[in-house]
């Protein structure tokens, strides 16, 4: 597997230690590593070059804040700039128009347009919108049927179409129908097409002209490679795109295409697809995406850069970053555990804690071993299950127990502890601080006060 940037940079960072100012010379190695990390994450080369140049310009001459070393300072700059490039804030759908608000889906073959259409319909339906779906994909066999079935499953109206019709005619008729039947939103799914296929690009332009969408969403596969820039440029030239949807982010692709597309089109990434099921659509989080592209689990990695473990001030900073309890899922928990391990395990973490806090932890237990068991259990879960622990009913628990070589009771215990932890996170986000977190941690490990 690819080493992550954090690991690779640690050596570079060490050589940077003790320098008060960043210079062209002392950041050259570090920037080279950043370049490689971005390329390995599939950020397109022209975008990488621009980015590195921009970071270099900002970094040179920068004074290093006394609490950071130069390596850390550079990495936080990189992270900050990347977040900025991803788009500062999550941007939602714009449906402010005379109904029906039309959403047009566009993208390459197999990028996930139809599935995303269904997911969007579900999201809008939950927001009490009356939605109409229509498929203008008259090419791929059963594409129309796929959308019809999705609509049926969701309880969303689907305008019937057939493969012997023209896409423009289909879209026009669907829009007229939506108008007379008081639909708030019409989602037009289209066939996948190559950006160099002129006839097909002309076709989607005609569909666009016919239905005048308020949102034209470009659907991109998170696994896409360097060609993302070319494809994005071509779609952006052919259509007035209003946003991007990044799909299949539940895989392990680092998703550098997000940055390429964002940079080329200038359009916000509005949603990410995180599963095949209809509920697998989430708002886009620029900061998370920046961490992912850089190969850093989360902000903890920044702290790890210091290679001196944690201090209380930094842990507090992290605590602030942790989202409100309801968003904290087992997937987050897993990455926290991994980070903890990277920092030298829970034992070394405790060494660095002020005495009274360390005292709150039970003594004489093999923390590393418990940690490994917990991790084993979480690893045996699917991403979906980690995201939605509520899915974990008896049969799934049995599978997980078997997969991680523990008893079902231990899985149950972990889930209980996780629930407590979620509560704790909520408490913390309301301003409880580290002391509370440590108290909560007591109950977190199997065999630790549980």
């Amino acid at each position: 597997m690819l080493e992550n940037l954090t690991q690779r940079l640690s050596t570079v960072v060490r050589t940077l230690r003790g320098q008060a100012r960043l210079t062209e010379a002392n950041i050259a190695d570090a920037l080279r590593e950043v370049r490689i990390a971005l390329l390995e994450a599939d950020v397109a080369l022209p975008v990488v070059k621009d980015f590195i140049q921009a970071v270099r310009e900002q970094a040179v001459g920068m004074e290093v804040h006394q609490s950071l070393n130069p390596g850390q300072a550079l990495i936080s700059l990189v992270h900050k700039e990347l977040t900025k490039l991803m788009g500062d804030q999550a941007v939602g759908l714009n449906l402010a128009t005379t109904p029906p608000a039309v959403i047009l889906m566009a993208g390459l073959q197999g990028s996930g347009k139809t599935t995303t259409s269904g997911k969007l319909a579900r999201l809008l339906k939950e927001g009490k919108k009356k939605v109409l779906l229509v498929s203008a994909d008259v090419y791929r066999p059963a594409a129309i049927e796929q959308l019809r079935v999705l609509g049926e499953q969701l309880g969303v109206d689907v305008f019937p179409s057939s493969a012997d019709q023209q896409p423009v005619a289909i879209a026009t008729a669907a829009r007229a129908y939506a108008l007379t039947h008081f639909h708030d939103v019409l989602i037009v799914d289209t066939a996948g097409r190559l950006a160099i296929d002129e006839a097909m690009m002309a076709e989607i332009q005609a569909v666009h002209a016919a239905v005048n969408p308020i949102e034209t969403l470009f659907v991109v596969d998170a696994m896409q490679g360097q060609d993302a820039v070319n494809v994005a440029r071509a779609f952006n030239q052919a259509l007035p795109l209003t946003g991007v949807v990044l799909t299949k982010l539940d895989g392990d692709a680092r998703g550098g295409a997000a940055l390429s597309v964002r940079q080329i089109t200038g359009r916000p990434i509005k949603f990410v697809g995180v599963g095949e099921k209809v509920d697998g659509l989430e708002p886009f989080h620029p900061e998370r995406m920046a961490s992912r592209v850089l190969g850093m689990g989360d902000v903890l990695s920044l702290i790890e850069q210091a290679q001196k473990g944690v201090d209380v001030a930094e842990a507090e900073k992290l605590a602030k970053k942790i989202k409100a309890g309801k968003d904290f899922d087992l997937e987050d928990f897993k990455s926290q555990l991994q980070q903890m391990k990277k920092m030298g395990g829970i034992g070394s973490l405790m060494e660095k804690l002020p005495g009274q806090l360390a005292g709150a932890m039970p003594a004489g237990q093999d923390h590393e071993k418990s940690l490994a068991r917990v991790e084993g259990i979480i690893n045996a879960m699917t991403v979906q299950e980690r995201r939605f622990p509520a899915l974990l009913k008896a049969s799934r628990k049995r599978r997980i127990a078997a997969g991680s070589g523990v008893q079902v009771q231990e899985v149950n215990r972990l889930l209980n502890q996780f629930e407590q932890m979620q509560k704790m996170m909520k408490m913390m986000s309301k301003g409880g601080g580290l002391a509370k977190m440590m108290r909560g941690m007591k109950g977190m490990m199997p065999g630790m006060g549980g």
Binding site: I36, V138, L147, Q224, G225, Q226, V229, G251, D252, G403
Partner: protein, 345 residues
Amino acid sequence: MFSFFRSRKSSAPPADVAPSSATTQPAGAAAPAIDRAAPASDGGGWLQRLRSGLARTRERLGANLGSLFHLGAKVDEAWFEQLEEALLMADVGVTATRRLLQGLRETARREQINDGAALRSLLSSQLADLLRPLERTIVLQDAPPTVVLFVGVNGAGKTTSIGKLAQHLLNDGQQVMLAAGDTFRAAAVEQLRAWGERNQVPVISQAQGDSAAVIFDAINSARARGTSVLLADTAGRLPTQLHLMEELRKVQRVAGKALGGAPHEVLLVLDANTGQNALAQVRAFDDALGLTGLIVTKLDGTAKGGILAAIAAERPIPVVFIGVGESLADLRPFVAQEYAEALLA
């Protein structure tokens, strides 16, 4: 003429069992709004399309590989840097690009080559050498049916590839059957059935039941009918979904119970647009199932599929064919030399 498969019995080279002519089947009942087929009449057609697409791409990017390779072009540091960029932008990846360039530099120094054109043909042949071990054709079993399992991530082109391969097998005089093993995606069965209709071959599906059950059923049915090749579709899945990977292993086990030795081929379908994650996909599916081959699809777009160079170096699973379009005829054998040329085009 070419073929993607050969019979075990026949000791003759692949060319001898090639289809007599690549006729295009009528595409379903309804005429499509745009005829996207425009099937290439010869093996070089897709390469041509590939090149013209790429030329446009490069113009826009301002990076012109052509100038690098001109006769008399001076080979210096800048030359190598530009070449590095070209390989990176073809998704070859950092590691494989470095390795290729290192080899090239060494040879250039040793043999004192400092002409762009000469060095280009050197690189092209090095790339072809790297890719050549990946050339392979599917082998048909002596005793029918040969069971071919298609796996891959969502939207890679599994179902479409099955439709295309079915036609080529039919043209070769084989009897083909399809198994609708994607029991997850909405209308996946209908999609496969449409390909079955176009090819006029039976499609085995079940109203209920999982992938393994459908494929078990299909194998028995193929045996009973003496069908020579069974092409089995599966639902798309990301290799991080461990339970879904486990499900595939179950399909594999159950297929083996229906017929000893089945599935005889396990093919991973890979989208040429995929970046560095393709290598992770190959590793994960191979670790789980033991792949016998790859199919690289969507090479008719602007993506070059350079990740194959990294795959060749890291996990050399052979490529049984490539997809260059959405219609029945858009299937080509994998020829290392051609692929290498297209990468450097």
